[in-house]
């Protein structure tokens, strides 16, 4: 007569990713694999950038109104109809009267040669126009991200799953922050802290101190979103058995939160960050506007308003490129945070 083990579970109860075969556990990804992966990613990135540019080209070309008229009117500050005679030199200069396909092909040709064209309005090469403005925008975008992460992380570690009201108050704060209209927040910050209290310059410019309010303007709502997503995961992770294990080893609460739980909560935050890069750019337009900052946002709005096709295409491609790169970085960060994703990503 034998007595048998009864309840033996086959599969891990939690949704941990399927354990890779333990017979060859230290499987380093082969260089070829990495290379092909890299090539694939680069190819995909190129496709994304090209598609974004083409889409822009098409959209701009489809806009109502005449581009040559617009240029002429802008040059004179007038808003009138123009005669064919007046328009002829402009049309010739920029080839506006060529068939769309020809224009598109020459645009693509330029792209391949790395030539983004010349701004219709500013007469400068697009690369110069963008090059002048890229730094402030990128700085603003990434400092907003940094602000968002810092605010979200601090609040998360300090307040998640605390005594009822603390946790609730701050998750309420996060919801409110996420619902804040950026420009509104920006104006209030400007009026209160720059105009009212005089703590910050009214006109930001490029200085570090001028970056504070714009970065907060974009960062606070994003912090709300980040906090909301990470809080869910954070609180879920707090319930994980390995957290209890860590406590059972004698780890303090704060240490458990920072060393164990936080890392798990980072993942959804990273995903959101990848997505947010694009929308941060739209936000940058607003922040630049409110705080009289230089940057690509203003360039884009001006270029759209002025139907400055080369500039619009250039900005869009740049934003797409930044997005793609940022997402590659996010992908890498994923693997750093969660090495289990090494192969699938």
């Amino acid at each position: 007569m034998t007595l048998t083990p009864s309840t033996v579970l086959t599969e891990p109860l939690q949704a941990t990713p399927a354990p890779p075969p333990s017979q060859s556990p230290r499987q380093r990804t082969r260089p070829a694999l990495i290379l092909s992966l890299l090539l694939r990613k680069l190819g995909a990135a190129a496709v994304v950038v090209w598609a974004a540019a083409s889409l822009t080209f098409l959209m701009q070309a489809l806009l109502p109104g005449d581009r040559a008229t617009m240029l002429l009117n802008q040059q004179t500050g007038q808003v009138q109809e123009r005669s064919a005679e007046e328009l002829a030199p402009i049309n010739e200069m920029f080839g506006f009267t060529d068939p769309l396909l020809v224009q598109y092909l020459s645009f693509l040709g330029g792209l391949l040669r790395g030539d983004l064209g010349v701004s219709y309005q500013l007469l400068q090469p697009v690369t110069t126009v963008i090059g002048d403005q890229i730094a402030p925008t990128v700085i603003l975008t990434f400092s907003s991200l940094a602000v968002a992460w810092a605010v979200a992380l601090v609040l998360l570690v300090l307040t998640a799953r605390r005594v009822g009201w603390v946790s609730r108050l701050f998750s309420g704060f996060e919801a409110a922050a996420a619902a804040l209209p950026q420009y509104w927040l920006g104006i209030i910050l400007l009026v209160v802290f720059a105009l009212g209290l005089g703590l910050f310059p009214v006109v930001g410019g490029e200085g570090l101190i001028g970056l504070v309010l714009p970065a907060l303007t974009l960062g606070i709502p994003l912090a709300g979103f980040l906090g909301q997503t990470m809080r869910t995961e954070f609180e879920r992770t707090l319930d994980e058995p390995f957290v209890l294990t860590a406590r059972a080893r004698g780890m303090s609460d704060t240490a458990v939160r920072i060393r164990h739980v936080l890392r798990h909560a980072l993942l959804p935050g990273l995903t959101l960050t990848g997505w947010a890069i694009g929308s941060l750019f739209s936000g940058a337009v607003i922040a630049e506007n409110v705080f009289s900052r230089p940057g690509l946002g203003g360039v884009l709005v001006d270029a759209v308003n002025g139907r400055d096709l080369p500039v619009v295409c250039g900005v869009v491609m740049l934003v797409a490129l930044i997005y793609v790169i940022a997402n590659l970085v996010v992908d890498t960060a994923y693997v750093l945070v969660d090495p289990r994703l090494k192969l699938t990503h």
Partner: protein, 590 residues
């Protein structure tokens, strides 16, 4: 710092290690003393639930005390009170509760942090998920050391390797750099033990240390714990598995609903249980000897009253035609790393009407994959499946659709197989409705009434109250859910039911009920089962024929009794050897 782990030092012996122990009381010889411990939990609505009642317990150095009992009886909660981690929604009250002489009701958080890990090593119930999946094993074990004074990284690294070696992890240097996800269950469990004993605690609390493990691995882990005990460490072992308890425990406490109903030496409790509940628990364990009998006393009593339903198994084969025939099934998968692995290799079997085929094997051996091919969910790379003598695997997806009702399935986790929006009734009527062909508009109402009647019939068949029909699966208990799942599998009146680990997630007593149900249904309806489990006892209990799988291959196939009593293949022999128990019992039959 202490140098070896095989020689655990007690605080009474070397009190200077972390802090001086508070005044040693009369109970200084016992490591843990609990007297009339009560624990309450307050739920979200503010209602307090009393989950541990007047529990008393004493653990002495070098002793292994086991707590057994069904799920939810309060075993883990009791263990967690010893390290002060019952949670902020709990309330504890005891006449006396000391750990190493310290009153746990007066311990501050900072003091607890010094006790945890040094005085008490804790192995959590959920072994597979008790290590941070994002950090390496080395970091996890090293953390125990870092928290308690080993500040130098190199020193920690050496010690981690030492510990891993000590718990029997092969290639410790390599393993230390891996994450829990990259390790098998057994290795994870051992790493967890290593982290618990890193600071050489005099008391080790092991909550279900073997639950998730294959039999062979389980044996290794138990050996490891036995070694610790032999070296003088005290162990509080929690389990609902008697074989585990039998191998390790000196004394056993039986818990039910938060109360201790019986206690005594392991020998006495396992061989000669006095309390009704203990006996029921022991009887509920399926094995070869229980074959053809009911596991629950209720069923047994019923069977006695109605002799015509008496458990007489049709074990002779050959008379019924084969319902399911598989020949040469092979299946490969391409992993995410681009490597193709053959997970099922040339597996053949056949099941005759009204019989049970048991498929057994350790995790990852290809049992579920084989079942999927039998069910027609996976197309075998080569080999064929015949259902009721007609081609099955060769049919296309659409072709199989009309014959799907001939073979149904019951999974381990019924919850995920139920549409969360649906009630039990909807789930059953969905299964009852013919798969193809709409119902004429006028006929709908009548149809619905008759479907409802059929559904009621079905739930009664599986021993559920028809009032449960209006409930959502989430509102049912695990056992009830599995019954519902079985009812659904039976609804289309299938010829074969495939049960893939259908009872693995269930508590012993609930498992016993479900197994009894299956036995009863087979007798009444003549259903054919393909029963997959890695639990040898369950397989032995249920099967007429057995297919033993290892690494995708069928290493042994044949009559159940034959395989269990004279295994031919070395792997099967090893499997059965790991079942050998140091203590045996004689279940008391009614």
């Amino acid at each position: 710092m202490t140098t070896t782990i095989t020689n655990p030092t007690l605080d009474t012996a070397t009190p200077a290690r972390t802090e001086p122990m508070s005044a040693l009381t009369a109970a200084a010889t016992s490591l843990v003393t609990l007297e009339d411990l009560n624990v309450w939990f307050t739920d979200a609505a503010g209602v307090a639930h009393h989950v541990v009642h007047d529990l008393s317990l004493e653990i002495n150095p070098g002793e292994c005390v086991a707590v057994i009992g069904e799920s939810g009886s309060g075993k883990s909660v009791t263990a967690r009170t010893l390290i002060g981690l019952t949670g902020s929604n709990s309330r504890i009250q005891a006449t006396r509760a000391t750990v190493g002489g310290r009153d746990i009701q007066q311990t501050t958080d900072a003091q607890w942090r010094r006790i945890r890990g040094t005085k008490i090593g804790f192995i959590l119930q959920d072994a597979l998920v008790s290590l941070d999946p994002l950090r390496t094993i080395g970091a996890e074990i090293g953390e125990s050391l870092r928290l308690h004074g080993v500040t130098k990284a190199s020193q920690r690294r050496d010690r981690v390797i030492e510990l891993l070696e000590a718990v029997g992890v092969p290639e410790p240097e390599l393993r230390a750099r891996q994450r829990s996800g990259e390790l098998s269950g057994g290795l994870r469990q051992r790493a967890l033990i290593a982290s618990a004993i890193a600071n050489d605690p005099p008391l080790l609390v092991a909550d279900e240390p073997t639950t998730a493990l294959d039999v062979t691995v389980q044996a290794q882990v138990l050996d490891l714990l036995a070694q610790r005990k032999a070296a003088g460490s005290a162990i509080l072992l929690i389990s609902h598995d008697f074989s585990v308890v039998g191998r390790l425990a000196d004394r056993v406490l039986v818990m039910q609903g938060g109360h201790i109903v019986e206690q005594g030496t392991a020998e006495q409790i396992l061989k000669n249980p006095r309390h009704e509940y203990t006996r029921q628990l022991l009887d509920a364990v399926p094995s070869g000897t229980t074959k053809g009998e009911y596991l629950t006393s209720a069923k047994r009593a019923e069977a006695l009253e109605a002799p015509k339903l008496s458990p007489v198994r049709v074990t002779e084969s050959g008379d019924a035609p084969p319902v399911l025939q598989a020949t040469g099934l092979t299946k490969s998968f391409r992993g995410p790393d681009g490597v193709t692995r053959t997970v099922v290799k040339d597996v053949s079997f056949e099941v005759r009407g009204g019989q049970t085929l048991g498929i057994v094997g350790e995790s990852g051996s290809g049992k579920s994959t084989t079942a999927s091919m039998a069910l027609g969910f996976l197309q075998p790379d080569s080999g064929t499946v015949l259902l009721n003598g007609k081609p099955w695997s060769e049919l296309g997806v659409a072709g199989r659709r009309s014959r799907r009702r001939e073979v149904t399935v019951v999974y381990q986790d019924p919850l995920s197989s139920f549409d969360p929006r649906w009630t039990a009734e909807q789930i059953l009527t969905d299964a009852l409705e013919p798969a193809t062909g709409g119902i004429a508009f006028g006929a709908r109402r009548r149809q619905r009434v008759s479907l409802r009647e059929r559904a009621e019939e079905l739930v009664r068949l599986v021993g559920l109250d028809p009032q449960h029909l209006s409930k959502h699966p989430l509102q049912l208990s695990g056992g009830q859910r599995q019954r519902l799942s079985i009812a659904r599998a039976l609804a289309p009146e299938p010829d074969v039911v495939v049960l893939d680990e259908a009872v693995s997630a269930l508590d012993v007593s609930v498992q016993a009920q479900v197994l009894d149900l299956l036995t009863e249904l087979q007798q009444r309806l003549g259903t054919t089962y393909v029963f997959i489990s890695h639990d040898l006892g369950v397989i032995h209990h249920m099967s007429d024929h057995i297919l033993v799988m290892k690494d995708g291959e069928a290493v042994e196939y044949g009559n159940a009794e034959q395989i269990f009593h004279s295994p031919a293949h070395p792997y099967t022999q090893e499997l059965l050897r790991s079942l050998q128990m140091p203590t045996a019992h004689t279940p008391v039959r009614l």
